[in-house]
Amino acid sequence: MSLATPRYGLPAAAWRLSSWRLSSWRPHRRRRVLADVAAWTLGLLLLVWALLPTYNMLLIALDEEGDTEYAGIVWPAEPTLDAFRVVLSGDYWYLQHFWLKFANSLFIALATMLITLVIGSLAAFALGRMTLARGWLLGNFPVLTYAVPASLLVIPFYRIMRVYGLSDSLWAVIAADVTFTTPYAILILQQYAKLIPKELDEAAQIDGAGPWQIYRHLYLPLAAPALAAVSTFALLFAWNEYIYQYILLTSEHKMTVAVAIAQFFDADEAPWNYMMATAIVYALPPVAIFFALRRWMLAGLTLGGVRK
């Protein structure tokens, strides 16, 4: 092969295909061509697969009348951003106090994230760094929470929160969300903490550091990638969650955006372009946070990458 030969991607695959018949036929070359073509096909399929629902959202949100789903078109005739204006100014019955609802969603997500981080890191630290008798049992015990899946506990939660006087309170949702994010957080953080050498703790102890100082100055900085992974997980969990927000919050000014979006389905004649525009606005923060934290998060889950 000369230096001008394309080595990667579709040009390379095309080049190999064209030279395939000319050159002497060799099995390993044929295999590489097939592998390249298969990889490109799979890549294109994945691209369509990943983007189709998002494209559908944009298609409906940009439509003038909001009845694209009844028109059977694949491209809006006269795209307009009017739906986004309506959403951002709360100019529709279901979208009243849009920013308040947005703030509620944000508050729930951030509080869930912070409490999960605090509980998760403290629990993982106590279980992993301090020697407790039968600590492993305690460490794996939170996973039992998942024996009864989240949405199946809504009815009991609803009753308990009423007893606690937390009905129609954002804290009820936060408490529920934290219940279901902490077991996974403890799991991830515990696994990650195994990579931090115990000798560091011992060295710090000789220097006179107590458990709290070891936690603050040694454990937290070293576990940062896993903490990033866990925060993303908790944040996305709260942002994905619908049923608890729907059941536990009843009044208009405690409502969240997720509930507001699903509410559109209650009406027969709802403007779907407003619904989809709301959906897109609601999707922006987690996507932004995800991209901001992506590097750390991959490192947090990539345990092999940090192993020396």
């Binding site: 024996a147 899946p149 009815i155 989809m276």
Partner: protein
């Protein structure tokens, strides 16, 4: 709330409960296994050296970052029938009439499964990518000398090393998927005539639409004989293996 044994007799006598239990079994069985195996294969794909794989992974992970309610509402409108985007695309590109997705119980169930996989596949792919990266390069090199490349490397090197992570993740995904309410609630909405319900949506329907909270809780409790052993196996697995998630 669901102490009364007679309640379970009433529950099992409900024809809808039986359909729903079968639906849940299929939803979880197909959904989780297809998703996990797909994630395992895709994690290998996303470690290919080509320049376009990294950006594609970022776009692919977007599905996970996309909140559930918007994503599933979009799925609902995409599959709403001949006016939905999927059928419109089928017509424009291939000239075929797509099916009415929510008029057939099986197609509706399938749509729910696809939507669930769409949302959660990236997360598990990411976990498996992390698992694969944790395999030291020397093992691959040693295996290559012994002739294990391609499919054989996957079967005899990658898969055994990831087996414990795979089992643990599958168990976790199973427990999470049984409790998945949002997908069925928004994608098929139980259509046609509540025949694509799963236990999570049926329990809620009993409790809040039909004003029978006890029956709703009983429907939920009937999953525990399966779920509690699964959770116990998960606990043991976590303790047993040097696990990396």
């Amino acid at each position: 709330m669901a102490r009364d044994p007679a309640l379970y007799g009433e529950l099992f006598a409900e024809p809808r409960y039986v359909t729903t239990a079968i639906n849940t079994l299929l939803y979880v069985g197909f959904g989780v296994n297809v998703m996990m195996f797909g994630a395992l294969l895709l994690s290998g794909f996303f470690l290919r050296p080509q320049w376009w794989v990294r950006p594609l992974l970022a776009i692919f992970l977007l599905c996970w970052a996309m909140p559930a309610v918007p994503a599933f509402a979009s799925f609902h409108w995409m599959l709403i029938g001949e006016q939905g985007l999927v059928d419109a695309l089928l017509r424009e590109l291939f000239g075929v009439d797509g099916p009415l997705w929510f008029n057939d119980p099986w197609l509706a169930l399938g749509s729910n499964i696809i939507a669930h996989i769409w949302k959660w596949l990236p997360f598990w792919t990411l976990v498996f990518i992390a698992g694969r990266l944790a395999i030291p390069q020397e093992i691959y090199e040693a295996a290559a000398i012994d002739g294990a490349v391609g499919v054989r490397r996957f079967l005899h090197v990658v898969f055994p090393l990831l087996a414990n992570i795979y089992v643990v993740c599958t168990l976790l995904a199973t427990l999470w998927t049984v409790g998945d309410y949002t997908t069925v609630f928004l994608v098929s909405m139980g259509a046609p005539a509540r025949s694509s319900d799963v236990l999570a949506t049926l329990g809620m329907h009993y409790a809040f639409d039909a004003a029978q909270p006890e029956l709703g809780v009983a429907a939920v409790m009937s999953t525990l004989p399966v779920l509690v052993p699964l959770a116990l196996i998960l606990m043991r697995r976590l303790h047993a293996g040097e696990l990396q998630l």
